[in-house]
C-alpha cells in the first residue's frame, strides 16, 4: 500500500518544486506578517485587529545564522535509535521583504562547513522522517548555489 505524504504541521507550507512556499498569514489592517501562522488575532499591539489571510512567504532569504545538532535530539524529534546519529545543520534565514527570521533544517548533505552568514538560501520541500504508513514532510533550506 502506498504511503501517504503528510506535512509534519498542517498549514505551514504547500506546493511542489518551484511552487513550494512557507505559509504565514498577514493582517488585512496593519499588514503584519506572521509565521508560524496566526489565524485568530493580529499580535501587533498597535493594530485594532483585522482579518488574517494566508500569505505565502518569500521563497528566498539570507542566512542569519546557522548551527548543527551533533547529538541526537530528544523526543518528540523522531529518530531510529538503532541507526548511528547523523548530524544535520539548522539554518535561521532572514526574509528581506517580510523582515523576519525563520529557522529550518538544511537539506541533507549540507553541513555547517558549506554555510556562511549572508548566503542566499531557498525553501524547498523535504522529508523529516518516514514510518510504515507515512512520509512526514517538512521544509528545508538549501543554498541557492547547490543543485537540486
Amino acid at each position: 500500500m502506498p504511503r501517504t505524504r503528510t506535512p509534519v504541521v498542517a498549514g505551514w507550507f504547500a506546493g511542489d518544486g518551484d511552487d513550494f512556499r512557507l505559509l504565514g498569514t498577514r493582517c488585512s489592517t496593519c499588514a503584519s506578517v506572521f509565521f508560524p501562522r496566526e489565524d485568530a488575532h493580529c499580535r501587533n499591539p498597535g493594530c485594532s485587529g483585522g482579518d488574517l489571510e494566508e500569505f505565502p512567504l518569500s521563497r528566498r532569504g539570507r542566512v542569519w545564522s546557522y548551527t548543527d545538532s551533533q547529538y541526537r535530539p530528544p523526543s518528540p524529534y523522531v529518530t531510529d535509535p538503532e541507526l548511528p546519529w547523523e548530524p544535520y545543520a539548522l539554518i535561521a534565514v532572514e526574509l528581506e521583504s517580510e523582515r523576519l527570521v525563520v529557522l529550518g533544517q538544511a537539506v541533507p548533505g549540507v553541513t555547517v562547513a558549506d554555510l556562511t552568514v549572508g548566503m542566499e538560501v531557498e525553501a524547498v520541500p523535504g522529508v523529516l522522517h518516514e514510518d510504515a504508513e507515512t512520509i512526514w514532510t517538512t521544509w528545508h533550506w538549501r543554498p541557492t548555489g547547490v543543485a537540486a
Binding site: A31, S32, V33, G46, S69, L100, Q105
Partner: protein
Amino acid sequence: MTDEVAVLGVGMHPWGKWGRGFVEYGVAAARAALADAGLEWRDIGSIVGADTVRGGYPGYVAGATFAKALGWQGARVTSVYAACASGAQAVNTARAQILAGLADVVLVVGADAAPKGFFRPAGGDRPDDPDWLRFRVLGATNPAYFGLYARRRMAVHGDTPQDFAQVKVKNAALGALNPYARYRKPVTAEEVAASAVVADPLRLLDICATSDGGAALVLAGMEFARRHGVTDPVRIRAVSTVTPRYPNTVLDLPDIATDSAAAVPPEGTFRESIARAAYEEAGIGPEDLSFAEVYDLSTALELQWYEDLGLCGQGDAAKLLREGSTALGGRIPVNTSGGLASFGEAVPAQAIAQVCELTWQLRGGAGDRQVAGARAGIAANQGLFGHGSAVVAVR
C-alpha cells in the same frame, strides 16, 4: 523610584547531580536563609515558591510544597512559574507584598532536580506548543539556539571560539572559589577546545549543564529590618520583569521564527529592554555597577549580555573580556559566582542564586572571589516565552 526591600538572609543547597528530590534542596536552602537572617520559620508571614516543571504536581505548587516540608504554619503562600525567570518573579512577588504592606517578611525559595542530558518538552502531542514544535519539527535543542547566537556574533562582531573559551576559563576560575558551585576545577582554553562540538560553533564546555540545586532568600521591609537590628542591609532596589515589545526581532527560545518587522519598526532588543527597565527603576546606570551576574547559558551568551547590560558598546564585548575588565579585579567583574558555567542550570533556583551572590558580594562576604568595595550589582536573566528578569541590589 520604587521603595527598597531588605535582603535579611540568603541560603543555597550546593549545585550538583545529587539524585534526590527538589523539595530537599529547597528546604535546605530555606533553612540556611532563615539561619542567615536570624529568623525562625514561624516568623515568616509569606512564602513564595518558584515552580519547577520537573517534579510533578508538587513542582507546580512549589510554594505550598516547601511550606508543607518546613511545617505548615499558616503563612500566605504563592507559587510562580516563568521558566528561567521564575526566581525573579518570586523575588518580585515577595517585594510587591512587602511594599503593599501585605507581609513584613517573606521567604523566597526555588529548587530543581534536573534530568540527564537535554531539556525536553512535556509529554504528549501538543502541536500548538512552540516548545513541543521546535523539538518535533526541527530537533532544535537549547544548545542549537545557543549555537545560532554564537555564530551570529562571530559573523557580525568578529568574536572567535577562543573568546568564547576565555569566558569559560574566567568563570571556571571563579567557580573554583565558590563552595556552592557544581564544577570547582579551573578549566584551560585547551580543555575547552578539546571538548566535543555540541552545536557548532559551541563545544561541550561552552554550554551550561543542567543541575540539581536550591536557593532561598529572606526579604523584609526596611522597617522590619531596623526592628530586627539590621541597620545597613543589602537592599533590592529594582526588579525588572518586562515582556518584549512587538516586534521581537531576535530569534528567541523556543520560537521557530521571529516577529516580522515589516509593518512596525523594532525598538532595540528584548534583552536590552530588560536591563533598561531595571536601571530606570533603580535610578542608576551601568556605570554605577560594581559587578554583574548574567545568565551564561553559553559562553557566547555571556558576551551578549555585556552589551545588552550596557557594560560596553554593541560589538565590544570580546574586547571587554580580552582586556580583563570582566575578570575579578577588573573594572566590572561578571559572574563572580562562577556563573552557569560553574553551576549548571537549576531553572527555578538560578535567578535566586544570582541574588545570593549579589548579597554576599555587597556584604563583603564573598571570600576569595570578593569584589573590592562592591556597592551595586545587577543580576540579569531571560525566561523562555518572553519573561524578562533582572534584579538590582545595592548597599
